[in-house]
C-alpha cells in the first residue's frame, strides 16, 4: 500500500480496499481460470458457480432476482446499456440538473440519433419543489425518468422514492444512477420502486475498478446494444432474448465480479447504516472545521439531504490549485467539474469545486490534519 497518502476521493473510487476484497481477487485469479457459462470442464464450472454466487449476493442486496443482475465494466457502461437499450425513437425523457455526463452525454447522443426529447428538472434544496418539478415535466410522451439518486458533486440526495411513485402511477420506467448512493443507503428495488438501477462496483461497494452493475426489476425489456458470444443458444445468429445473457456478451471479468461480491459482503457485514453514520460524522467534522477557516465556501443547503460528500472552495483560489496543494501535503481530493458540468452550472461553480469524500477507512485525525492543510493553503497559495 502507498504510504503517507490519505484518500479523500472515495466518491471516485474507494481506496484502500478491504482485505477480503484483495483476497477475493487473488482467489479468483488462482482458482477461476475458466470462462463462466461456457464449457463444462472443472475450471469453467468453478467460474460459473462463482459468478452465480455473486449474482445471488447482489440480487439479495438490491432485492431482485439473480438473472436480473448484469455485470458491466463501470456505471457508465451500465447506464449506456440501460438508456440505449430502453429509450426508443421519439421518446420524451426526464432527467435532473445534477446528472453526471454518463447520463447527460448519453441522452444528448440519443437526441441526435433517435430524436428523443429531454427535459432537465432543476433539483431544489426543498424536496417538495423537486418532486413538483418532476411531476410537471412529465408528459404523455414521457417513457423514462433517468436520474441520479445522489449528486456526485455535492452528495445531495434526490427524493427518489417520491419520484418513483410518480413513475409507477404513470407507468414510466425509472432508471436510477446509484453510483454514489449504493453502499451508503440500503436500496431495495422493490421498496424504492426503481425499475433499473445502475451503479459502479468500485465506489461504495468496495469492489475493484473495471466493475459496474445493471440491476433490473425485470419489468422493462432492455435491448442489447452489444452482441456476441454468451455461451447460450449458440446455433442462433440472434442474440438471446433472456436475461442475463441478452445483455452480457463476451467474457466476464471474473476477478472483478468476485471482488464486488466480497465488497458487498463487507458492506453488509459491517452494516450499511453504520458505514454511512461513520462517514457522516467525518463529513460533519470536516464541515465544522471548514467553517472556522476564513474565505471558505461550502456548497450545502440546510434544507437538503446529503450523502457524506462535501464540495467546497476557498475564495479566489482555483479548485485545481487547492487540490494540487493538498496533494503535495499527502491528501487526495478531486477538483474541477467531476464530469458533471450541469451540476456546476446550477451551483454557479463553472470553474469547479474541491470534493471531500471519505470512506470507512478514513479517520477523524486525518480530517483534522486535512483541515490544517486547507487553513495553511489560505495564506500559502497566491490568490487570483
Amino acid at each position: 500500500m502507498m504510504k503517507n497518502i490519505i484518500n479523500f476521493d472515495n466518491a471516485a473510487t474507494t481506496f484502500p480496499k478491504p482485505e477480503s476484497v484483495k483476497n477475493a481477487v487473488l482467489y479468483a485469479i488462482e482458482n477461476c481460470g475458466g470462462n463462466a457459462g461456457r464449457g463444462g470442464h472443472a475450471l469453467s464450472m468453478k467460474s460459473s458457480e462463482l459468478v452465480y454466487q455473486t449474482r445471488t449476493v447482489i440480487s439479495s442486496f438490491f432485492d431482485t432476482e439473480p438473472e436480473n443482475v448484469i455485470f458491466c465494466s463501470s456505471c457508465t457502461h451500465a447506464l449506456n446499456t440501460a438508456i440505449k437499450g430502453f429509450v426508443r425513437r421519439d421518446m420524451h425523457v426526464v432527467t435532473s440538473s445534477l446528472e453526471h455526463n454518463s447520463v447527460l452525454r448519453t441522452l444528448v447522443a440519443m437526441k441526435k440519433e433517435k430524436n428523443i426529447s429531454i427535459s432537465v428538472v432543476e433539483v431544489s434544496a426543498d424536496d417538495s419543489v423537486t418532486i413538483d418539478s418532476f411531476r410537471r415535466a412529465i408528459t404523455d410522451k414521457t417513457g423514462a425518468v433517468i436520474c441520479t439518486i445522489a449528486s456526485n458533486v455535492t452528495g445531495q440526495l434526490l427524493p427518489i422514492r417520491e419520484i418513483s411513485e410518480i413513475c409507477r402511477r404513470k407507468n414510466i420506467c425509472l432508471i436510477a444512477d446509484g453510483a454514489q448512493a449504493c453502499g451508503h443507503i440500503p436500496i431495495s428495488l422493490k421498496k424504492y420502486g426503481i425499475n433499473i438501477l445502475c451503479t459502479s462496483g468500485h465506489k461504495g461497494l468496495y469492489g475493484i475498478s473495471g466493475t459496474g452493475l445493471l440491476v433490473s426489476d425485470g419489468k422493462y425489456n432492455i435491448k442489447p446494444f452489444m452482441h456476441g458470444g454468451t455461451g447460450s443458444v449458440s446455433t442462433s445468429p440472434v442474440q438471446p432474448d433472456f436475461m442475463p445473457d441478452s445483455l452480457e456478451s463476451g467474457t466476464l471479468n471474473i476477478p472483478g465480479i468476485f471482488s464486488v461480491k466480497a465488497g458487498i459482503e463487507f458492506v453488509a457485514n459491517t452494516g450499511i447504516e453504520k458505514i454511512n453514520l461513520f462517514e457522516e460524522n467525518l463529513a460533519n467534522e470536516f464541515i465544522n472545521r471548514l467553517k472556522k477557516i476564513p474565505d471558505v465556501i461550502i456548497y450545502r443547503s440546510d434544507s437538503a439531504h446529503y450523502l457524506p460528500v462535501v464540495s467546497f472552495n476557498l475564495k479566489n483560489i482555483p479548485s485545481e490549485q487547492l487540490s494540487s496543494y493538498l496533494d503535495k501535503k499527502g491528501f487526495c481530493l478531486r477538483a474541477g467539474l467531476h464530469c458533471s458540468p450541469i451540476a456546476h452550472e446550477m451551483l454557479k461553480t463553472q470553474t469547479g469545486t474541491v470534493r471531500f469524500s471519505p470512506s470507512v477507512f478514513n479517520s477523524a485525525v486525518e480530517v483534522k490534519n486535512l483541515c490544517y492543510s486547507i487553513k495553511n493553503a489560505t495564506y500559502t497559495i497566491e490568490k487570483i
Partner: protein, 74 residues
Amino acid sequence: MNNHSVLKLKSYTNAMKASSVLMQSGIECSISRTVTTTDGCIYTLTLYTDFEKAQSILQKYRIDYIIAEEGAVR
C-alpha cells in the same frame, strides 16, 4: 427405465436458479453441461426424486426447461 430425470436449461444462470429453487424445496439435483447437444452451452439438471413437484416449482418460478429424460422417480 432410468431412475433419474434430466432437464435441459438454456443457460448456466437458468440452471443454477432452477437448482437453487429446487434445493430450497428439498429436491436433490445436480448440474452438468449437456454433452449431446449442438445448441451451444446447454446445461442439464439431473433429478433423483420428486420430478412432478420439481416441474411445478420450476413453472411457478417461470424457469424454462426441456425434459430430456423422464425417469421413474416420483
